[in-house]
């Protein structure tokens, strides 16, 4: 019972943390984008305002029970990843579920939400949603390959599938995995581009073409939950990268610095990129990133 309360408490606190940080990152993204485009841009807290606005929308519609549940599905993924990914080294932050699952579990729980939401999007009957979903799934089949290759390389190199163990190894040796397994880091980094769905991989919800794709029928509270989930998930993913490749973090400030510097990569890459078509992005991920992944595996096998 004590454990459950502790985990629940931890979940709430980490959720708030992730929500805050994630949404700030999103706002900073908009700000930086604006600055690069020689605009003033919205304030950094603009996304907070947006979220609160969405949350305070008075009415909302849904097309059926699957669409109603869709945001809950995606929330499961966000919160579960947050719970499985250790926030700080040696679990110094709130203890969560990270001793209960491993990388493979994480990989699968990360697709749970998108698929659930895809079902909701499908139920709306809006063709744009379904088209967006098919693009998203196709792209996922693309970027999962280098991503899994990178993870497998780590697993075989350090003989563990536990994230906590991988972090401990970095703490013990004092060497970040992005230096000791550079190819894995490269592959994972390139896969991250697809994971964040910024340009050039933003064909899933291309606003001009698909009317934001899977989310096109969601407004009000549904969009509110989805947006929060997206921010939390973004933070969780960044934390995972930091945990795996950048030696984790000993306190929250370091964590924020590391995650933000990591976040700059997809962000800046996206700002200067046009958009790939689906098959182009799929082929992209099966090209160089997968080659790096292969090199990572070879590196792990022979060194």
């Amino acid at each position: 019972m004590h454990e459950i309360i502790q985990i629940t408490w931890g979940a709430i606190v980490s959720f708030i943390l992730a929500f805050t940080v994630g949404i700030t990152y999103m706002g900073l993204n908009r700000k930086i984008t604006a600055r690069i485009q020689n605009r003033i841009g919205p304030p950094w807290y603009q996304n907070f305002i947006d979220v609160i606005k969405l949350g305070s929308k008075q009415t909302s519609i849904h097309h059926g029970v699957m669409q109603h549940m869709g945001p809950a599905f995606i929330m499961v993924t966000s919160v579960m990843s947050l719970l499985i990914i250790p926030i700080l080294n040696q679990n110094r932050f709130f203890p969560n579920l990270n001793f209960h699952g491993d990388l493979v579990f994480l990989l699968y729980i990360m697709v749970f939400g998108p698929l659930g939401m895809a079902l909701g999007a499908g139920q709306t009957g809006n063709p744009n949603s379904a088209i967006g979903v098919t693009r998203g799934l196709s792209q996922m089949a693309g970027f999962e390959i280098p991503w899994v290759m990178a993870l497998v390389a780590l697993m075989i190199q350090y003989k563990t599938t536990s994230i906590v163990d991988l972090m401990n190894i970095q703490v013990e040796t004092g060497k970040w995995l992005m230096f000791s397994s550079p190819f894995a880091f490269l592959a994972a980094l390139l896969a991250m581009l697809g994971m964040f769905r910024y340009a050039p991989f933003d064909i899933v919800g291309a606003p001009q073409e698909l009317a934001s794709g899977p989310m096109s029928e969601n407004g009000g509270k549904y969009l509110f939950v989805m947006m929060s989930a997206g921010s939390v998930f973004a933070f969780a993913k960044l934390t995972l990268y930091v945990d795996l490749f950048m030696g984790g973090a000993n306190n929250l400030i370091i964590l924020v610095v590391k995650t933000f510097s990591l976040y700059l990569f997809p962000m800046l890459y996206g700002i200067v990129s046009p958009r790939y078509r689906t098959e182009q992005s799929v082929r992209y991920f099966w090209g160089w990133p997968s080659l790096f992944g292969l090199l990572a595996i070879l590196h792990a096998m022979f060194f």
Partner: protein
């Protein structure tokens, strides 16, 4: 007891067939009683380890049950009984029902026979019975019989004859047909035989398990047989191939001095099967075809697991085998329900059934989640074990291949659910109602079992572990799994219970928030009320996106899918037919030619007499 089991099934089959002439009710009663009787006897009366002997045709036939065969009988009878209930309702009003039920029972009998045979000859007999009884099912619908039916029977016969050759070789060498003796004497065979016997056996088994170069019969056969049977066909009958493979791999291949390349080849064939099956499943518009290709792909995973053959891999293969029976059985049943209620199985034709057939949707949703291997359902456990075993046994590229297959599987999983149940609701399907309870309940039972397995996989892992111990593996309970915990060889673990509870808790929490917040101002709107540039779709306008569903993805993988195995076979077949036609012309129908043949024969023999009769 095995006698009684078999004679109940055989007698029941014949009685059902005969009762068909009298009345439909009697036939259904007989059918159900037979199935239930067999299941009841199996669970209550059959003891593991019991053996019966008798001789026929101067061979000593031996039947018995061990834990390994018990595990597979469990799949067969469990799925068979549920499918039997389903069939009663599904087949109502169709033609040739006596024939259908007869073949159904005979195939159940033959599957049980296969796993309970302890000698090769009855193994082969039951194997062939299984082939022709399922062949009847493939051609039952009367569509494409000349293509799919012949394909199926030809490939099955090819496999069966390979097996027959192997059996003959074994018999010639050890003068015994007992499987146990074959295994124990395996080490004394000549090296050539040691290689060839397993290869021949594996050819037979990989036909039924639809492994890569021998899989071309499967999509047609699975999609053409009645769905009530296809669930058994794909769920249980294909597992007979897996059963045989496990037997061969454990008892023979592992004794080969160079078994590594053997295992590698088969593991890779399994992986390629998985990939290609998945890709082709994505391209299908027919739900039955989609599931058929998906079955091929899923069997590919299992084959890979079997071929790797470590403790964890074998455990995952056994677990996945049972699981595949559960979820693919459910899915084929769901397709059958949709087919029965709407009359079509094309994704491009039927949409938006979720509100009309909610229970079918729930069952398929759960089955699809399990198929995709997403926690918190049972599918994840099998997938997890497979990946871990592959990584632990140093098959790094293979694990990527398998992972690619199962990631791409999300595509067709979504297509299945979307195509039938989601999308715009149409007036054309407004009349559709939920399938009868007899069809829905079996689906829901199996789906419910999948949910339970997600939290407590130990329920199924325990018999699987016992089965493996029969095959000579060390017990794995406690260090590879316990009731709801999974371990890998490096000591990492997945504690399913807290994870599943956490998932359920988070889901419920947010669902409640979503529901309660603005409860009064949340409104349901029809699927015609969508934001499509301010337009209102008309009643007959269906905006659902269902044609060329994954066109971009298929374009990306296009080069791989350019060549189809089946065209090669077809060209080979066409070439053979040409040769046959040419041969036929030897018989010209002209008497003089025949007389010349006689003389030429005589002359040739006279000339060659010293060579021939030297």
């Amino acid at each position: 007891m095995i006698y009684i089991l078999f004679s109940i099934l055989l007698g029941g089959a014949i009685l059902t067939f005969l009762a068909n002439k009298i009345s439909g009710l009697l036939r259904d009663t007989f059918f159900l009683l037979t199935m239930l009787g067999a299941t009841l006897i199996f669970y209550t009366q059959l003891h593991i380890g019991g053996l019966v002997n008798f001789s026929i045709g101067s061979f000593n036939l031996e039947w018995g049950v061990n834990s390994f065969s018990w595990y597979f009988s469990l799949i067969v009878l469990g799925l068979g009984t549920l499918a039997a209930f389903y069939a009663l309702s599904y087949m109502k009003g169709k033609e040739n029902l006596g024939f259908f039920y007869f073949s159904f029972l005979i195939s159940i009998l033959s599957m049980l026979g296969i796993v309970m045979s302890h000698d090769l000859i009855s193994f082969f007999i039951f194997w062939e019975m299984m082939t022709w009884s399922s062949y009847f099912m493939v051609i039952y619908s009367g569509k494409n019989v000349q293509k799919n039916g012949i394909n199926y029977i030809l490939f099955s016969a090819f496999g069966a004859y390979a097996m027959l050759t192997a059996i003959a070789l074994v018999y010639a060498n050890i003068h015994s047909l007992s499987i146990v003796e074959m295994i124990s004497n395996y080490g004394q065979f000549s090296p050539a035989l040691q290689t060839w016997i397993p290869i021949l056996f594996l050819m037979a088994f990989s036909v039924k398990a639809a492994m890569m170069p021998l899989h071309v019969w499967a999509p047609g056969a699975y999609s053409d047989s009645p769905m009530a049977y296809t669930s058994v066909f794909s769920g249980a009958l294909s597992k007979m191939g897996i059963y045989g493979m496990i037997l061969i791999f454990v008892t023979m291949i592992s004794h080969l001095p160079d078994d590594t390349w053997f295992r590698e080849v088969f593991a890779w064939l399994g992986a390629i099967t998985a990939i290609m099956g998945t890709l082709w499943a994505i391209a299908q518009d027919d739900a039955r075809k989609l599931l058929a290709y998906s079955s091929v792909a899923q069997l590919g995973y299992i084959i890979t697991g079997v071929a790797i053959g470590t403790d964890l891999a074998m455990l995952s293969a056994l677990f996945l085998a049972a699981l595949h029976a559960l979820f693919k059985g459910t899915l084929f049943m769901a397709v059958g329900a949709v087919e029965r209620q709407t009359g079509t199985v094309k994704f491009s034709e039927v949409t938006g059934l979720i509100r009309k057939m909610p229970w079918t949707f729930i069952a398929s949703l759960l089955a699809i989640i399990a198929l995709a291997g997403i926690p918190p359902l049972g599918g994840f456990v099998g997938k997890w074990m497979l990946y871990e075993s592959l990584i632990n046994s140093n098959h790094y590229i293979l694990v990527i291949a398998i992972f690619f297959a199962s990631t791409s599987a999300f595509l067709y999983c979504y297509k299945f659910l979307f195509g039938f149940f989601l999308g715009q609701e149409e007036k054309e399907w407004a009349h559709v109602k939920e399938a009868p309870a007899l069809m829905v309940v079996p689906m829901l039972l199996m789906a419910g079992f999948l949910v339970i397995l997600g939290t407590f996989p130990g329920i199924l892992l325990k018999p699987a572990d016992t089965a493996m111990q029969t095959l000579g593996f060390a017990p794995t309970e406690g260090h590879l799994w316990s009731m709801s915990v999974l371990f890998n060889a490096w000591g990492d673990q997945v504690l399913l219970r807290p994870l599943v509870y956490a998932i359920a808790g988070i889901f419920l929490f947010f669902l409640i928030i979503l529901t309660v917040k603005g409860w009064k101002n949340t409104r349901y709107v029809t699927t015609k009320d969508i934001s499509s540039s301010g337009e209102v779709p008309l009643e007959h306008e269906n905006l659902t996106f269902s044609v060329n569903f994954y066109q971009p993805f298929l374009r990306a993988v296009g080069p791989v899918m350019k060549h189809r195995m089946i065209t090669w076979y077809r060209e080979f077949g066409a070439g053979m037919e040409t040769i046959f036609d040419f041969t036929r012309r030897i018989y010209t129908g002209n008497g003089q030619t025949y007389a010349i043949y006689v003389m030429v024969f005589l002359v040739i023999i006279l000339l060659l007499q010293n060579t021939i009769f030297g």
